[in-house]
């Protein structure tokens, strides 16, 4: 087990070395740059694969897996910040997903990126470094540094290689995320300082496992939890994005180059949900329980709103972007159902969404490369023209809408089960009606999801053959997917099928970690339940007495 830490370190270091190498070698030309980038991502993928495969199959002792812990700033300087990385059940598959999607991203950029290619691949590898680091960090500062660091490369990816409105999109994306994350930063600092003050430490500890354990022993006072939760919410909810903070997302997606969209949807949005699962829920359980109905409400609003807006889109990429809002709503819904089933579903849905939506964006990019347009109305019957591409598109679509046997089903069913359990079996009486309404509304998202995705497939791939006018200057004859493009999407499809058929292999590895997180909220939930029940009971009692007195 111990040697896995070196593999993990190597996995995170490889993209950084690659990025520095690309940057240092300077003007290599497009060909060298892309081969080098491909080599780096393949090596990273193999290393990450080894790390993920060796994760204990029963998920036991997950928080000891592949841990490296080196003091970065010493305790003498007051800030005991560590370079501390390791994987547990929550982070391990997201870590693997990041490595996988980066491989896809390099391949889909192969021909699409002509201008300043070395810079592009430098940024891509830097982004991979940041993404891998976020999911492995065991120190709050390290997490935050990786979290913020991902903004810089993506800012350049959108701004330089995006579509016509790219400058506005890049800045809007950056400001939105940055504004939220500085508030998150304050919240995290408050947790750290409060912990040091309570324990009389003469240094500040930033270790996530230590803080989590300590805050479960001695929780923060409710007022603190309340405000810190809101501060963390600002950053993570923007990142997810939770309705109504999603407005930056469709813009960023449509303007970003294909690789940018794949990474944004596949990995970066997960940092938001990951942050809720890593910090908000286990560290601030009482506030989590307090805000649960509101967050569930926002999630359902996002599910339905995202689906309805997706239905009305004229642009394929925008449609997929809005479907992300809807799908991430499911992930949030499952997590904030605050029971083990829902939480498992929410986490699984994070991975599923990364695979299927990442793949969908890759295919939309391939269509755009062929026709230089993404307008739905200008396509029709592509299945006859591009059968392989249509096949992959269809599989990923079915995965995205949750067809049984594919991965989306496993996630959605668990989320909905968890939500129904919360609403019908475990809800305090006063929340009963609203939660039941929400859970029923959430199911409608499944129908809407199938509607907008299949409607898209029907219009673009299965009606009469209709192609955009081929007047574009650098238009080449349209051919079906080549081997490179198949290599980009095939691994995603394989994993979609595998998770769909054997979700249990993931569940077993994740479960112990996730149970620990949900366990934190049990006590506050129970408190809340008795409190609400007592209020209701006393209210009822009063009215009974009143009635009785009237009768008398």
């Amino acid at each position: 087990m111990d040697h896995m830490r070196n593999w993990l370190l190597a996995t995170i270091a490889t993209p950084l070395i690659g990025a520095v190498l690309l940057c240092a070698l300077g003007n290599l030309g497009r060909n060298v740059a892309r081969w080098l980038a491909l080599a780096v991502t393949v090596v990273t993928l193999i290393l990450a694969g080894v790390v993920v495969v060796n994760f204990p199959a029963d998920g036991a002792n997950a928080d000891q897996y592949a841990v490296t812990d080196v003091a970065w700033l010493s305790a003498q300087s007051g800030l005991d910040i560590h370079f501390s990385i390791g994987l547990d059940g929550l982070g391990v598959f997201l870590f693997g997903l990041s490595a996988l999607l980066m491989f896809t991203s390099v391949l889909v950029s192969w021909e699409a990126i002509q201008d300043r290619a070395p810079l592009f691949y430098t940024m891509l590898l830097a982004l991979e470094f940041g993404c891998l680091g976020v999911f492995a960090a065991r120190d709050i500062m390290l997490f935050y540094i990786f979290f913020e660091f991902t903004l810089i490369p993506l800012f350049f990816l959108i701004g330089i290689w995006g579509s016509e409105d790219r400058r506005y999109a890049a800045i809007k994306f950056f400001i939105f995320t940055f504004a939220g994350s500085v508030l998150t930063f304050l919240g995290l600092l408050a947790i750290v300082l409060w912990h040091a003050q309570q324990n009389g430490l003469n240094y500040l500890t930033f270790s996530i496992p230590e803080l989590t354990a300590s805050l479960q022993q001695a929780p923060l006072p409710f007022v603190w939890q309340y405000w810190i939760f809101l501060a963390l919410f600002a950053g993570f909810a923007i990142k997810v994005p939770l309705f109504p903070l999603h407005t930056w997302l469709p813009l960023a997606h449509t303007q970003a180059p294909t690789a940018g969209s794949v990474i944004l949807a596949g990995i970066l949005l997960k940092i938001g949900t990951y942050g809720f699962a890593r910090f908000s829920i286990p560290m601030l359980p009482a506030a989590t329980v307090h805000f649960m109905p509101w967050i569930l409400g926002l999630s359902v609003a996002g599910i339905i709103y995202g689906a309805l807006v997706a239905l009305a889109q004229k642009d394929i990429k925008r449609l997929v972007a809005y479907s992300s809002v809807s799908h991430l709503g499911y992930s949030m819904l499952g997590m904030f159902a605050l029971n083990s089933i829902g939480f498992m579903g929410g986490t699984l849905q994070m991975i599923n969404h990364g695979l299927s939506t990442g793949g969908l964006f890759a295919i939309v990019g391939m269509i755009y490369e062929r026709y230089h347009t993404r307008e739905i109305a200008s396509f029709g019957g592509l299945a006859w023209r591009l059968p392989i591409l249509s096949f992959f598109m269809l599989v990923l679509t079915l995965s995205s809408i949750g067809l049984p046997g594919l991965n989306g089903f496993a996630g959605e069913i668990l989320v909905l089960l968890g939500m129904f359990q919360r609403a019908f079996a475990e809800s305090p009486p006063q929340w009963l009606a609203p939660l039941q309404v929400l859970s029923v509304l959430a199911v409608s998202g499944v129908v809407l999801g199938a509607w907008y995705m299949l409607y898209l497939i029907q219009r673009v791939f299965f009606s009469e053959l209709r192609e955009p006018s081929q007047q574009h200057a650098d238009h080449r004859p349209v051919t079906d997917m080549n081997l490179r493009e198949i290599a980009a999407v095939l691994p995603l499809v394989v994993f979609c099928v595998w998770i769909g058929l054997a979700p249990d292999s993931l569940r077993q590895r994740m479960e112990p970690t996730l149970l620990k997180i949900t366990a934190a909220t049990e006590q506050p939930l129970a408190d809340r339940y008795t409190e609400e029940t007592e209020i209701t009971a006393s209210a009822l009692g009063a009215t009974e007495e009143e009635k009785l007195s009237r009768v008398r």
Binding site: W72, L73, S74, Q76, S77, G78, L79, M141, Y144, I145, E148, F149, L151, I152, F155, F156, G159, I160, R166, R167, A170, I171, F174, I175, F178, A179, V182, L183, F185, L186, L189, A190, V192, L193, W194, A196, Q197, G200, L201, N202, Y203, L204
Partner: protein, 532 residues
């Protein structure tokens, strides 16, 4: 006794700099050679740095000169900024005026170093004037034309006014305490001890004038650091002068003003901290908000950096506010992360290098004929000068406070010190104030990102509009490279600077204890604590 041999040895770096600056003035009239005098100036900084390294370190408090880690760190900072400014200036000067400009920069840096170690009001004022007077001349000789003349006149009159306000404040302080020494030692009472004694009983009579003194001093020094409402000159003057001079104005007076505020308000006047922290807090919030919001609309980069320097002054005042708040409501426990002064010093270092670097990039793109200063002129810079563009991007991201660059750690220390007041304070009444302060700081960080990103966006995302490529000057690019290395190294390994900043913080915290006869009196702060 001021001029004993110990003092002279301790002030050796300043003495070397003043002596050589004078030589450069005189020599320049006989032999106008830019390259020679630039080299000599750089060598002088090197010799002064060696002297500072050998003699500046050991703490020593004398009546007039205070050698502590606060002063030591900031003297290094001033010395290095002087060297970087010399590098920036060296290739843009005409032979005729080269030696004058180089000497003046050196004098201004010396003035900043003197303020950093001044333990006496007179020496402090002397140091501040040693920054101001060379600056007037520098502004005037830098560039011919009406704009430069306007900038000079504006700066001159406002600076004179601020000096007068400062002196007025100092005179109240002298009248209250009967001494110009900030902190006495060895039985001699300084302002610190006298004020505690004077305000100890009831705050009547003369002691009631202490708040007036602090307000006047805030006004005078507020001009130096360009804090609202004394900030109006900054954007105009920065825009009207050269890039090097703008860099100098953004850096040297700011170091001096902040260290003077710390020495006077935090160390010498803890007696009225309960009054001063309100003042500092309000100025901090206003300064950062107005600076950032006004910067959003600028298209001239120097003007934008002028507003940005105002905003950063506001951030640094967060540190001052925290230190004052701790003086006013200090509890037994000490925030192990950062005290206000430590955060201020850390942020100051980070700010200085990022700002100097940004001006250095602009300076090395400009020629005496063509001045690069607007957003349009740097559009597409990535395609013409990739190195310059990358350096500028590093400075912009650092100023915005994005990890893993130095600016991030600066924000971390400042916010941590302010959040620390909230968690560690035993007084519930001040909590909301500091929450407002820290949230205002955080939101401002987001606003600031918008205009820093516009620069990066122009350089990387826009097509080239300024087609004539200049040859970057080696001096300017050298200055920018030095700053970039500092910003990146601090970003990756902030440990050394953090240790220095903590030492500075402790120096401000553990100012010499009060003499026995005064210490038995009860200060208003502790009296207020006792009542609670």
């Amino acid at each position: 006794m001021f001029a004993n041999s110990e003092t002279l040895i301790r002030l050796m770096p300043e003495i070397i700099l003043v002596a050589l600056a004078t030589w450069i003035f005189i020599g320049g009239t006989f032999w106008a050679n830019r390259a020679f005098w630039s080299t000599l100036a750089m060598l002088t900084y090197l010799v002064a740095a060696i002297a500072l390294y050998r003699h500046g370190n050991a703490p020593l408090v004398m009546s007039v000169v205070t050698i502590d880690y606060l002063g030591y760190t900031l003297r290094w900072l001033a010395l290095l900024s002087g060297a970087v400014l010399t590098l920036m200036a060296s290739y843009h000067l005409r032979d005729q005026l080269a030696s004058e400009a180089l000497g003046l920069i050196m004098l201004a840096a010396t003035g900043t170093m003197l303020v950093a170690c001044a333990g006496d009001l007179v020496l402090m004022f002397l140091g501040l004037e040693l920054i101001s007077i060379p600056t007037y001349v520098l502004l005037y000789v830098a560039r011919p034309g009406r704009e430069a003349a306007e900038a000079t006149a504006k700066y001159f009159f406002l600076s004179i006014l601020s000096s007068a306000l400062l002196l007025y404040g100092f005179s109240f302080l002298y009248g209250l305490a009967g001494t110009t020494t900030l902190v006495g030692e060895g039985g001699v009472l300084g302002i610190q001890q006298q004020l505690v004694g004077a305000t100890g009983g009831s705050a009547t009579g003369l002691a009631a004038l202490a708040p007036l003194a602090i307000v006047l001093i805030f006004a005078g020094l507020g001009f130096k650091i360009a804090a609202v409402p004394f900030h109006f000159y900054a954007p105009d003057v920065y825009q009207g002068t050269t890039n090097t001079n703008a860099g100098l104005l953004a850096v040297l007076p700011k170091i001096a003003g902040l260290v003077a505020l710390v020495r006077i308000a935090v160390i010498a006047m803890p007696a009225i901290a309960a009054y001063a922290w309100h003042l500092s807090l309000i100025i901090a919030v206003l300064t950062m908000t107005i600076g950032n919001v006004c910067a959003l609309w600028q298209t001239n980069l120097r003007r934008m950096l002028g507003y940005s320097s105002i905003a950063h002054a506001g951030y640094m005042l967060i540190g001052l506010t925290v230190a004052l708040g701790a003086n006013a409501f200090g509890s037994g426990e000490v925030n192990p992360g950062y005290g206000g002064v430590g955060a201020l010093v850390f942020y100051l270092v980070v700010y200085v290098f990022a700002t100097l670097g940004a001006f250095a990039v602009l300076a090395q793109l400009s020629t005496p004929e063509q001045d690069v200063a607007t957003l349009d002129e740097v559009a597409g810079l990535n395609k013409i000068h990739p190195t310059s563009a990358a350096l500028m991007a590093v400075f912009m991201f650092s100023l915005a406070g994005v990890p893993p660059l130095a600016g991030f750690w600066g924000k971390l220390t400042l916010f941590m010190s302010a959040v620390g007041v909230v968690t560690y304070s035993t007084n519930a009444a001040i909590t909301p104030w500091f929450v407002v302060l820290v949230v205002a700081g955080a939101l401002n960080a987001a606003i600031a990102a918008a205009y820093y990103l516009r620069v990066v966006s122009a350089m990387y995302f826009r097509p080239v509009t300024n087609a004539a490529p200049q040859v970057p000057s080696p001096g300017g690019i050298g200055a920018a490279l030095i700053c970039a290395v500092v910003v990146i190294v601090i970003g990756i390994s902030p440990r050394a600077l953090m240790t220095a900043a903590r030492a500075a913080d402790e120096a401000a915290r553990t100012a010499p204890s009060l003499p026995v006869n005064v210490a038995t009196d009860v200060s208003p702060a502790s009296a207020a604590m006792a009542q609670r």
